[in-house]
């Protein structure tokens, strides 16, 4: 992954979020406060602006800047969580062009950042429930000899499955936890946006 690919990834996320803004908001409406779509759109459109006029050399620079922009524009739970994740991913991608293995460890750093900040574990009905299986699938594919594109494709599928699997969970973190058993039966908005983020990675890596 080079700086151009990192940029392409962020642009692809922005496009996906734009397309799914309403879906994310309606998911958040059912078990939260109906702002996740607007939050993510505001954040990634700010990222596009932030990246537009700056020459950045490494994928790390691009993604650290993406994380910082998310933190300073999103707010809510998603801002710090995704912001920290992208900053951590970026920090782990210092060179001009990272290989698939390095991308794996960067993604893992991102997950660690999310878990450290939010203290969620798998099963809590959060971002972590999409992110964890995505990283595992990414790793598995590399282990089986696949390249970046194949790993990303598997990660996207796993993230989507992970997001779907949140439907039957009872939330134990974030706003949805206030609903207790009533949170069951709805897919988690954050896990859903995580799936969009991995799908975007899969898309740009095959190009």
């Amino acid at each position: 992954m080079d700086a151009a690919l990192a940029r392409a990834w962020v642009q692809a996320i922005a496009a996906a979020i734009d397309e799914h803004t309403d879906q994310l908001t309606q998911l958040d409406s059912a078990i939260g406060d109906a702002d996740h779509g607007a939050n993510m759109r505001r954040g990634f459109s700010a990222c596009l602006d932030a990246l537009a006029d700056t020459p950045l050399e490494t994928p790390g620079d691009v993604l650290v800047r993406t994380g910082a922009t998310l933190i300073s524009s999103v707010g809510g739970a998603a801002g710090p969580l995704y912001g920290s994740a992208f900053r951590a991913i970026g920090r782990a991608l210092a060179g001009p062009d990272a290989g698939a293995e390095q991308v794996l460890s960067a993604l893992t750093e991102g997950l660690t950042a999310v878990k450290r900040l939010g203290a969620a574990v798998p099963g809590d009905k959060t971002i972590v429930d999409a992110y964890t299986p995505a990283v595992a699938a990414f790793e598995q594919e590399l282990w089986e000899g696949g390249g970046l594109a194949a790993a990303a494709a598997h990660a996207a599928e796993a993230a989507e499955a992970g997001a779907r699997a949140t439907t039957t969970m009872q939330a134990r973190k974030g706003r949805a936890s206030y609903l207790g058993p009533r949170s069951v039966g709805h897919q988690d908005p954050g896990a859903t946006s995580t799936a969009l983020i991995f799908r975007a990675l899969a898309e740009v890596t095959v190009r």
């Binding site: 406060d33 109906a34 702002d35 300073s72 809510g76 969580l81 974030g174 609903l179």
Partner: protein, 332 residues
């Protein structure tokens, strides 16, 4: 969606422009999105800031002024502010004696304020964070993000604000803020959902004969749904939840707030207050101070929250101290 707005994307900016025009006693920074006092304080004192999503007005901007907050940082509707914004408010409130962050306990608020506190610390500003978590509808357990912060925020901001004004130091202000929070319990009931500008649709569908019991202030559904009942029964449910969590005895003196969530007529709020005061009178508990009105709202939600604070002499004295803000004003 029927609202007075120009575009869902500009709601906050447009409303802040109106707030600035309406209150010469406030200074509103439309770029940084922070609200500060236009005048003073002109001496060193502990700064007090709070913030959170918009849609809860007059919280928090309406509580900026002498005797209460030094600054507020409103996020987008129902979205906590970002660290930059909180940092800007912290800087504006700092007069060398440190700054207390009053944070309602929501994952997003907590994380953003924590990041801002770290940044402020890097700049050498001493920050104490006080979490408000008074809503007894949520259990504070590993199965939840902990109790939500709701109505007690007003009590914390008023009382801690008065203590800061009288010259208490950073730890003293944080300490009384925590004590007020610990002494306060809230419970809310909604008759209707609300619609955020970004979503355009009500947060939930509620049949004509049902209410949401144990709601928060973000338009989310409550703990459970019940059949619509008379005011007396609804108040009994709420007061049970409050008083079984923090039993009071006849010697206790209380500050009681009956708060409208935005779409409830004042006529009904008074009616509810009558029932609340009857419940407390029945138990021999003294209502020493009261607030009835819209203080911590959830856009246009029809609903009511009840907050009871067991107040000691110091809290009552600080409650009575002068305050001069758009939404609370007395003694000056």
């Amino acid at each position: 969606m029927k609202k007075f707005l120009n575009s869902p994307d500009t709601v906050l900016a447009d409303a802040l422009a109106g707030l600035a025009a309406a209150h010469p006693d406030l200074s509103v920074d439309l770029d940084q999105r922070i609200i500060t006092r236009a005048h003073g304080p002109h001496r060193a004192k502990v700064g007090l800031i709070s913030g959170g999503g918009s849609g809860h007005e007059p919280l928090h901007g309406g509580f900026v002024g002498a005797g209460m907050l030094d600054a507020a940082c409103p996020g987008e509707v129902f979205t906590s502010p970002v660290p930059d914004q909180i940092l800007a408010a912290t800087r504006a409130a700092d007069r060398g004696a440190g700054v207390v962050h009053i944070v309602k306990n929501y994952t997003g608020d907590v994380m953003n304020f924590q990041m801002a506190a770290e940044l402020a610390g890097d700049e050498g500003i001493a920050v104490r964070t006080v979490l408000v978590d008074d809503d007894v509808a949520v259990q504070d357990s590993t199965y939840t993000a902990g109790r939500r912060g709701t109505g007690a925020t007003v009590f914390v901001e008023k009382i801690a604000g008065a203590h800061a004004e009288e010259g208490a130091d950073l730890d003293g202000v944080a300490e009384i803020a925590r004590r007020v929070n610990a002494a306060s319990r809230s419970f809310a009931v909604a008759l209707t959902a609300c619609t955020t500008p970004a979503s355009g649709r009500p947060g939930f569908d509620l049949p004509d004969d049902e209410i949401e019991v144990g709601v928060g202030i973000h338009g989310e559904p409550g703990r459970r749904r019940e059949k619509l009942a008379g005011a007396k029964e609804i108040v009994a449910t709420a007061m049970d939840a409050i008083l079984s969590d923090q039993p009071l005895d006849p010697a206790d003196r209380t500050i009681v707030m009956v708060n409208g969530l935005g779409g409830t007529p004042l006529l009904e709020l008074y009616l509810v207050f009558g029932e609340v005061s009857a419940v407390l009178a029945d138990k021999g508990i003294t209502v020493a101070r009261t607030l009835v009105g819209n203080y911590v709202t959830s856009l246009e939600m029809a609903g009511v929250s009840i907050t009871v604070c067991r107040a000691d002499e110091q809290m009552l004295a600080l409650w009575d101290a002068p305050v001069r803000t758009p939404a609370l004003r007395w003694g000056c």
